[in-house]
Amino acid sequence: MPRIVREADVAWEGTVSRGAGIVRAASSAAFALPVTVASRVGDPEGKTSPEELLAAAHATCFVTSLGSELARAGTPPDRLTVHCTITMDEVEGVGHRIVSSAISARGVAPGADAASFAQAAEAADAGCPFSALIKGSATVTVEAKLEGGTDG
């Protein structure tokens, strides 16, 4: 398989406490968003942050893996919804660390049952490159539930 390369850039002005940056999706131009430190660690006030971008990355990575696993099992999903929460905490002695990523998945997949859906979610967690990566440093939890399934 070919290498896939994606680029983003940031222009930052000033110090951390009073400065601000703009983060831009350089490959796709899909977004250009302001970021500040205050809105990263405190109330977001409508601004994104590195952790929110990671939550979006993990949710997107996981949802494509889950769709792929369900299709492989012969039960492609009509619809999947994935919610991801990334938590950054102040760890004593080392400063801020991303400590966990919690995935919650809901799906409608004709022909799937609760057990096969749970199995697909487990395989998706194992197969999603972002899950694999962040497990090295943070706790990843996956909670998955089939909606309107044959036994659920």
Binding site: M1, R3, I4, R6, E7, A8, D9, V10, A11, W12, G14, T15, V16, S17, G19, V23, R24, S27, S28, A29, A30, L33, V35, V37, V41, P44, G46, K47, S49, P50, E51, E52, L53, L54, A56, A57, H58, A59, T60, C61, V63, T64, L66, G67, S68, A71, P77, L80, H83, C84, T87, M88, R97, I98, P129, F130, L133, G136, S137, A138
Partner: protein
Amino acid sequence: MADRTANVTWSGSLTEGDGTIESVGSGAFGPLDVTWATRAEDSNGLTSPEELIAAAHAACFSMALSHGLANAGTPPDRLETSATVTFVPGTGITKSALAVRGTVPGMDEGAFLEAATAARENCPVSKALAAVPEITLEATLA
């Protein structure tokens, strides 16, 4: 403690289906469409997990570097950072390449590289991406 959230939906199989980053907790972006084809091939204007990781890494690194420079008594006027994330299907995310160009009054190249190296080591996203085989850095003064 800071919790940040995102909601994504998907319909259909991997190659023929499509998804949407419906919303994020801050409300700063979404909906943004995503597909496998635009993740794996030409982006065609759609974002992808790898681009979002690149955005997270570039933003986190910039904040850490700005913080380090200010602590050293040489706050930056401006930092321009890019992060390039490489994903090899079947292998995983293999690289994040950081490049920064700074306008920092009173600073020389060596000290800037040192500060940038510390930011690469210590920013929370670098720590979260510690399992990535290669995190490279180029740092120059404007």
